[in-house]
Symmetry: C2
Subunit: 416 residues, 2 copies
């Protein structure tokens, strides 16, 4: 892909309202563009990363028996009256009227819509379980949108809803989804901690949150450095540096960005919305539900937060928008252009290649490349005519001059 056509509007300075590192960097790197407070365009680079996150999510959910669909953003008031949420939800719910003065809202979540979609179908235990998800744009009118994609008013979520004939089946799926989430965030190159709130009540209230530890999160989390779990209640008496009585690990206190949550809904929506099925015993019962969210735009931002310094970003392998960044210091002379294009074409057979074909000074190109964050960079300079390029591995900052004939081998060894 030619960089001139990709549309990467890098900036010298971050917008004034950008308070945190990732927000500043995302604006400067040409990843996002604000159109109003808390509302962003995902520019082509960010869009490619989002698609990579989505692919990982789909793979992990599909192989566990989940099925993808797409529900509408426009939700009619009557369904929200059924669940009782129309009156309970505060000003965060974006409400509007259609041309006939009927009330609608823009969905912040889809419990009502999904319950409506399945309730005629799940008339018998034979139709259960079901696990339905979507990747979709959501709306929440935050009082004070801030931190870029972290507290936005329009954002991308994966939301999943499961339906079960009994508590045991919900427990089984809940555990399976917890494993899916762990795998999704691991594959996305994010270090997460699970904050559990296991109240043990039947039919609801059990929940786990997946938190990315960072300097800027909205919640403060105490976690044990030896366990994979963080539990606010359990460690609430302890502070940073204390030793944990249970396992001898050290307590660390940090901010967390919530990127996912899973929740045993129980029968809250099925009872109020009359989603009943006939059980094996022939009784009419409300279906038992679970819900499971991942903030996709937040995951993008959390990844930037974890993989950047003030002036540079390096994407983890599974999220990177491109594998290789080919940066010719000079891309003017016809013969040279032909040779560079030939090299890129051959690399594109195996890799996703970004070619900086712009007529810019080398300094500008390198600075942009640091912001864009492709992990492997090939600089094409004077020695290209002698069959040599400069190869930079940005994960370890290792730089070497390579013979073109060794390039394929080097790339192979990197396991891109």
């Amino acid at each position: 892909m030619k960089q001139s056509l990709l549309f990467v509007p890098t900036l010298k300075e971050a917008p004034k309202d950008a308070e945190v590192k990732s927000h500043k960097l995302m604006a400067r790197a040409g990843l996002i563009k604000q159109t109003s407070a808390g509302v962003y365009t995902y520019l082509p680079l960010a869009h490619r990363v989002i698609r990579n996150i989505e692919t990982i999510i789909r793979e992990e959910l599909d192989k566990r028996g989940c099925s993808e669909m797409l529900m509408p953003a426009l939700q009619p008031r009557d369904l929200w009256d059924e669940s009782g949420r129309w009156d309970l939800y505060g000003p965060e719910l974006m409400r509007l009227k259609d041309r006939k003065e009927r009330d609608f809202c823009l969905g912040p979540t889809h419990e009502e819509i999904v319950t409506h979609a399945v309730r005629d179908y799940i008339n018998s235990y034979k139709k259960l379980p079901l696990a339905l998800y979507q990747i979709q744009t959501k709306f929440r009118d935050e009082m004070r949108p801030r931190f870029g994609l972290m507290r936005g008013r329009e954002f991308i979520m994966k939301d999943l809803y499961t339906f079960h004939e009994n508590q045991e089946d919900l427990d089984r799926w809940y555990q399976s989804m917890k494993e899916a989430y762990t795998e999704i965030f691991r594959r996305s190159g994010l270090e997460t901690r699970i904050v559990s709130s296991d109240t043990g009540q039947i039919g609801g209230d059990e929940a786990d949150e997946f938190m990315v530890m960072s300097e800027v999160g909205e919640d403060t989390i105490s976690y044990c450095m030896s366990c994979s779990y963080a539990a606010n209640q359990e460690f609430s008496g302890l502070s940073d540096g204390d030793v944990c009585p249970k396992c001898g690990g050290t307590i660390r206190t940090a901010k967390g960005i919530e990127v996912g949550n899973i929740f045993k809904l129980g029968t809250k929506y099925s009872e109020s919305m009359n989603a009943l099925f006939t059980s094996r015993e022939g009784k009419r019962e409300p279906v038992i539900m679970g819900c499971y969210g991942i903030g996709i735009s937040r995951t993008l931002m959390a990844s930037v937060e974890q993989h950047s310094t003030e002036d540079a970003l390096v994407w983890p392998k599974e999220l990177t928008p491109f594998d290789l960044h080919v940066v010719p210091v000079n891309y003017r002379d016809d013969a040279l252009i032909e040779k560079v294009d030939g090299l890129v074409r051959s690399l594109e057979k195996d890799y996703r290649v970004l070619l900086d074909d712009r007529d810019e000074r080398a300094g500008v190109k390198f600075k942009d490349a640091d912001l864009i964050g492709v992990p492997y960079r090939m600089v094409i300079g004077k020695d290209f005519s002698n069959g040599k390029i400069e190869f930079l591995n940005r994960y370890n900052d290792h730089k070497e001059v390579l013979d073109l004939e060794d390039l394929a081998e080097t790339l192979k060894s990197l396991n891109i």
Copy 2:
């Protein structure tokens, strides 16, 4: 994929408000579920078809130098005031206020947002051309939503915007996009006609519409059966069956469903919104724009319209949600289940397989399979124990009993 987990809520009867064949069939086949007038959930089967259409679109646009991003649905009034469209647009524009009483609309198109996104960047002819697209949910408050996905209030579109330094460059890209569209609809298995309105004016007004001929479209089109083009003006004096003076072809009059349109915008938005660049001659000029839409949910519906009878559907190869439908007449006995699952697992290495694992009568399964529309069906009946299955090619209704050992060869020969 197991059909019990896919969520295909087939219906015996179409909803009463469904007037046209495709709408009736889409509801009965468990493809869509209405939540309010003109607002639908795309159920898992439809979602898979939509993803196939999207893949074709992305491939054809990306290889022609277009770049994908994602713009917001929530659009602030100030940008619409700049273009003048806030006052011009009628009640079809869905408007709302945020918690601070600021005006927003839900985007029916994105000219304002994309012009805002690029105008600081395209300061020089060196940054041009650009071709940016998105696949996104759009909103239009239709006076009378009807015909299912054909005239909905929330729908999926691909919209593309191109930016050029001069008319020649716009013309070149316009031609390239016209070819892309022709290829997209051909690959989607749709027969389309292009309705041109070439006014020849510089800087705008040239447009082409891509129409699927059908019994139910919103526009009446006269077209020549020998040419690939349809031109309302040119053939306006002629009626069905007339011979066309130009080429000797016969005129046919039919309804058309508009699935795509391409349009030379010129400088309408760049002038009003101040999107200027410095030309090669050093002058500040408004950038010249083109816009190009494809109704993705409409394309789905048009495909159903073209590939169905009242009670059955057969998806074209590139859009089908699955390649093979495995229908065991009995899926109860453990040994049999194990054998069927083994067969499905081996088929899944090469094909997308739907397994009807439901505990339903054979008649119900076959009726549902006719509605679901997978092109090749394998019925597993009594003779399975003798290594035989019944294979149905739904494109030509050819049915044969196959030895399991010949299955691989048969599938190969079908070029799935």
